[in-house]
C-alpha cells in the first residue's frame, strides 16, 4: 500500500443514509396531511428498487452486498415515490422505479456513471406516458370531499377498486400549480384563484408544510456538509428572481415568488434532487450555473409548459449541460491565479 495510510471512516452509505434521514420530516408531513398512502408508495418503490438493483448488479457481475449497502437505489426510490401522487396505482410506482433503476442508472454504467438523475428520468417517463394518473393527487385530508380509510386506499392502489358509489374525483385534486395554470386559462383573476380551498398561507394547503419539511431536511444536510450551499441557493434565487420579475411585470397573470417557492417540487428539488452529486457539476461555479439554469427552466416549464411542474424536465435538461459546465468552470490551480 502506498500513501496515504489513513482514510476517513465516512462512506457513501453514510452519506446516503443521512440523505434518507433528511427526508423523514417531509414524509411525516406527507402522512399528516395526505394520509398514510404515501408510506405504501415508498415501500413499494423501495422493494422494487432493491430487487431490480440486485438483479442488475448480478447481471453486470458486480458485488451485490457493498453496492446494495450504498443506499443509492433506496434514495432514488424514495425521491421518485415522493414525486408521484400518493395512492397512485401500484404499476405506476413499479414502472417508474424500474425505469429509474434499470435504464437511467444501470444501463448507463451504474452508480457514479449515470448522466441523468434516475428519479427524474422515472418521473419524466411516467408523466409523459400516464399524465392522468400522475396528476391525480390526493387532496389534503382537511378539504377532501370524502374520506376513505387506509384499507380502501390499498384496495384502490392494488386492485383499482373504490368503495361503492365513491368517485376518485371526490378524493383527489389537481396540484396548486396545476390549478393555477388551468384557472388562469379560464381567465380567472389570480386573487380569486388563490383563495380556493387548496391553497394555504403561501403554497398549497398541506403541501407548504411538506415543502417546509424538505427545507428543514435540507438545512440538516447543509449542516452535515453533505451538500454545499451553492445548489440550493442558486436554485432558489433563480426561482425567486424569475418569478419575481414576471410577477412585477404582470401581477394579474403571475403568482408571487412565494407560491413558487412553497409549491411544487421547488424545495425537494433544491435540496434533494439537484444536489445529486453524480449528475451535477463538481466545481463551485459550475454548481451555481447549473442550479440557476435549472431554477430558471423550472419556472418557465412550470408556467408555460403543458406539465404540472417543470422541475424534473429542468433537471434533465441541465444534466445534459454538466460536462460542458464543468469544463468551462475549472477553478485556477494553486499559484496560477491571475
Amino acid at each position: 500500500m502506498s500513501s496515504p495510510h489513513l482514510t476517513q471512516t465516512n462512506s457513501v452509505s453514510e452519506i446516503m443514509l443521512k440523505v434518507l434521514l433528511a427526508l423523514v420530516p417531509a414524509i411525516a408531513a406527507n402522512v399528516w396531511f395526505f394520509g398514510p398512502a404515501v408510506l405504501v408508495t415508498l415501500s413499494l418503490a423501495s422493494v422494487t428498487a432493491l430487487v431490480l438493483e440486485t438483479v442488475m448488479l448480478k447481471l453486470r457481475g458486480r458485488p451485490v452486498v457493498p453496492f446494495l449497502m450504498d443506499g443509492s437505489a433506496l434514495l432514488t426510490a424514495w425521491l421518485l415515490a415522493l414525486s408521484i401522487p400518493p395512492m397512485g396505482p401500484w404499476w405506476l410506482i413499479v414502472t417508474g422505479t424500474a425505469f429509474a433503476i434499470v435504464i437511467a442508472k444501470h444501463l448507463y454504467g451504474g452508480l457514479g456513471s449515470n448522466p441523468f438523475n434516475p428519479a427524474m428520468v422515472g418521473y419524466a417517463v411516467l408523466i409523459i406516458s400516464f399524465p392522468v394518473q400522475m396528476t391525480q393527487w390526493l387532496a389534503p385530508a382537511s378539504i377532501a370531499l370524502s374520506h376513505i380509510d387506509f384499507a380502501a386506499q390499498l384496495d384502490y392502489m392494488f386492485f383499482h377498486v373504490l368503495p361503492q358509489g365513491m368517485q376518485l374525483d371526490a378524493l383527489t385534486s389537481a396540484t396548486p400549480l396545476d390549478t393555477l395554470k388551468t384557472q388562469l386559462h379560464l381567465d380567472k383573476p389570480i386573487s380569486a384563484i388563490l383563495s380556493l380551498p387548496i391553497y394555504g398561507e403561501v403554497g398549497g394547503k398541506g403541501g407548504e408544510w411538506v415543502a417546509g419539511a424538505y427545507l428543514a431536511g435540507g438545512l440538516y444536510l447543509l449542516q452535515q456538509r453533505i451538500i454545499s450551499w451553492h445548489v440550493p441557493a442558486a436554485f432558489i434565487a433563480a426561482i425567486c428572481l424569475t418569478a419575481g420579475a414576471f410577477h412585477l411585470f404582470d401581477p394579474a397573470h403571475h403568482a408571487s415568488p412565494w407560491l413558487h417557492l412553497a409549491a411544487g417540487a421547488t424545495m425537494i428539488g433544491a435540496f434533494f434532487i439537484l444536489t445529486d452529486p453524480v449528475t451535477g457539476p463538481t466545481t463551485p461555479k459550475g454548481k451555481l450555473i447549473f442550479a440557476f439554469g435549472a431554477g430558471f427552466l423550472t419556472y418557465l416549464i412550470r408556467v408555460y409548459g403543458s406539465y404540472p411542474d417543470g422541475a424534473a424536465f429542468a433537471v434533465l435538461l441541465m444534466n445534459i449541460c454538466v460536462p460542458l459546465i464543468d469544463a468551462y468552470t475549472q477553478p485556477p490551480v494553486f499559484g496560477k491565479k491571475k
Partner: protein
C-alpha cells in the same frame, strides 16, 4: 501581530502527537553496526573515500559530494569500515543502495573540528562548508542546503521562512527539537539569514505546539526574527502552503520560491547549519520519532546508519505490530523491511498494526461528490484527474494539471468511496515519464539513424567523387601518355 493568509483545502486527521512528546529526546545507544548509504540526498550519490579495513574517526568524511547537486556523507562514530557494497535501503521500491558498513569501536573519538566565524566569511566558503558537512533538508526532502542558500546573482531574498509547522500526524521530531534546542535553531537561522541577506525571518509553527512556540520565542531576542503560530491543518507544513500562509505568496508548480523572494528551510536543518559552521560538526545523527504500535513512543537522537529495527526494539513494539511506515501516515511510505538503516530523511517511524492501520475499505465508484476537490490544497479537481488517469487519458490529465499535484493525500483521505486516488496519480505520472523517456530515446534513435544515413550518403558521394576524380586523372594521364 502578523496578518496570516490561507490556502484552500486541507484536512484535520487525528493527530496522535501527544504519545511521543511526553518524554524528552533520548540518545539512542551506538549500535553494533552502522550501515551508511552514500545516497541520502537529492542528487548524485557521494563517492566513497574509504575502503574496507580502514579505521575512521567520528565526523570523518567517508563519501564525497560528486557533481553540483550532491552532498557528503560522514562516519557517525569512530570505528572500522568492514564493507562497501549494496545493502537494503529505506526506499519504497526495496532496491539496494551502495552503503558503507562501519563497526563502531566504542571510543566515539572525534576527528579534528574547525569552527568558522561566519560573520567574517564570504557566503560561498560557508556554502562549501555546508556541502562538505553533508547538510541537507531534514524535513524529509533532503535537498542539499548549500544550493538553497545560494540565491543566485541579482536575486533578492526578502523572507527566510523556517518551517516548524510539522503538520503530519504522529511526527513530533521538530516539535521536540524546538522545545529542547531552540537556541541552536535560532543561531542557525541567523547564519542562514546572513548568507541570504534576508530582510526578515518568519518561523511558522502550528498552534498545536504551544511548548515549542514558547521555547522558540524565549530563544528569540531581536527583530527581524518572528515566531508565528499558524493554524493546525494538514498540509500546512508543506513549504508552499507555509509560504502562502506566512507571506501570501503562492509559488506555482515548477517555479522556485527564490524567484519570488522567499526561501524556506526546516528548523532541524537550521540546527545542522549551526553545528556545521559554529562547531565544525557534520550531520552525523538526527532526531527521529518512533511511534505507532509501540509501548514506549518517543523521540530518539540516533546516528545515521542505525538499523531501524534496533530503534523499533528500543520503543518496545506491541505484540501484533507488523511493518513500519517511514515518514508520516499521509505522505510516508511503507518500509519493505525494517532491516534498513536510518537516513537523513528519516523523520519518523510509525510501527504498524492492524488495529492502528486497518486495511482500506473496498473502493466504490466515484460519486462526484467533490469532497476531494474541496480538500485539495493545490486547487485541483482530483475526481477529474482520477477519471483521466484511470482511463489512460494522460494528455487530459496533464491538461488538468496532474503535475501540480503534490501527492499530499488529502483527496484520498476524504473520499467517501475510499478510492486510492493518489495511487492513480502516481501511476499516471510514471506512465507519462516513461512515455517521455521513450519518446526521447526514439527521437535520439531517429536522429542517430538520420545522421548515419547522411554519413553513408556523404561517404558514397565522396567515394563516387573520388572514383570520378581518379578516372578523370587516369584519363588525362592516358591522354598525356598518348600524346607523348
Amino acid at each position: 501581530m502578523k496578518l496570516l493568509h490561507r490556502f484552500n483545502g486541507g484536512i484535520h486527521p487525528p493527530q496522535h502527537k501527544t504519545e511521543s512528546t511526553r518524554l524528552p529526546i533520548l540518545s539512542a545507544p551506538i549500535p553494533e553496526k552502522l550501515v551508511i548509504p552514500l545516497h541520502q540526498h537529492i542528487g548524485t550519490s557521494a563517492k566513497p573515500l574509504v575502503a574496507a579495513g580502514d579505521a575512521v574517526l567520528k565526523g570523518q568524511m567517508i563519501g564525497k559530494a560528486e557533481g553540483y547537486v550532491s552532498s557528503s556523507v560522514h562516519a557517525p562514530t569512530s570505528g572500522k569500515i568492514t564493507a562497501i557494497g549494496y545493502e537494503p535501503a529505506p526506499h519504497p521500491s526495496g532496491l539496494r543502495d551502495l552503503c558503507i558498513t562501519l563497526e563502531p569501536d566504542g571510543l566515539d573519538a572525534w576527528i579534528e573540528r574547525h569552527p568558522l566565524d561566519y560573520l567574517n566569511m564570504d557566503p560561498s566558503s560557508l556554502r562549501n562548508r555546508l556541502r562538505d558537512a553533508g547538510v541537507v533538508g531534514l524535513g524529509g526532502a533532503v535537498f542539499p542546503s548549500f544550493i538553497k542558500l545560494n540565491p543566485g546573482s541579482g536575486k533578492k531574498i526578502k523572507t527566510l521562512v523556517l518551517n516548524g509547522a510539522e503538520c503530519e500526524p504522529y511526527i513530533t521530531c521538530d516539535d521536540m527539537l524546538m522545545r529542547e534546542r531552540a537556541d541552536e535553531i535560532i543561531a542557525g537561522a541567523k547564519i542562514m539569514r546572513f548568507m541570504l541577506h534576508a530582510e526578515e525571518v518568519l518561523i511558522g509553527i502550528e498552534d498545536n505546539k504551544p511548548e515549542a512556540i514558547a521555547a522558540m520565542r524565549a530563544a528569540l531576542k531581536e527583530a527581524p526574527f518572528e515566531v508565528i503560530p499558524v493554524p493546525t491543518i494538514y498540509p500546512g507544513g508543506g513549504a508552499k502552503q507555509l509560504i502562502r500562509v506566512l507571506t501570501g505568496i503562492e509559488v506555482p508548480a515548477g517555479e522556485r520560491s527564490t524567484d519570488l523572494g522567499v526561501q524556506c528551510f526546516n528548523v532541524a536543518t537550521a540546527l545542522s547549519v549551526y553545528r556545521a559552521i559554529a562547531h565544525g560538526e557534520p550531520v552525523l545523527s538526527r532526531i527521529v520519532t518512533i511511534t505507532g504500535a509501540v509501548n514506549k513512543p518517543r523521540n530518539y537522537e540516533a546516528l545515521i546508519g542505525t538499523p531501524i529495527d534496533v530503534l523499533i526494539r528500543l520503543a518496545a513494539p506491541v505484540k501484533d505490530s507488523d511493518g513500519a511506515i517511514m515518514g508520516g501516515p499521509m505522505m510516508g511510505f511503507e518500509l519493505p523491511s525494517t532491516c534498513v538503516p536510518l537516513v537523513k530523511a528519516t523523520n519518523c517511524i510509525i510501527v504498524k498494526s492492524a488495529t492502528l492501520f486497518p486495511p482500506a475499505p473496498q473502493p466504490m465508484p466515484c460519486i462526484r461528490c467533490g469532497k476531494c476537490a474541496e480538500s485539495c490544497p493545490a486547487d485541483l479537481q482530483p475526481q477529474e484527474l482520477y477519471w483521466f488517469s484511470k482511463a489512460g487519458n494522460f494528455g487530459k490529465a496533464q491538461e488538468y494539471a496532474l503535475f501540480d499535484c503534490i501527492e499530499c493525500g488529502c483527496c484520498s483521505y476524504v473520499c467517501p468511496s475510499h478510492i486510492p486516488l493518489v495511487q492513480f496519480y502516481r501511476y499516471a505520472k510514471s506512465e507519462i515519464w516513461a512515455q517521455e523517456r521513450e519518446k526521447k530515446a526514439s527521437d535520439l534513435a531517429r536522429i542517430r539513424h538520420e545522421l548515419r544515413v547522411d554519413r553513408m550518403e556523404r561517404e558514397k558521394r565522396e567515394k563516387a567523387e573520388r572514383l570520378a576524380q581518379k578516372s578523370a586523372q587516369a584519363r588525362t594521364q592516358m591522354n598525356s601518355e598518348e600524346e607523348t
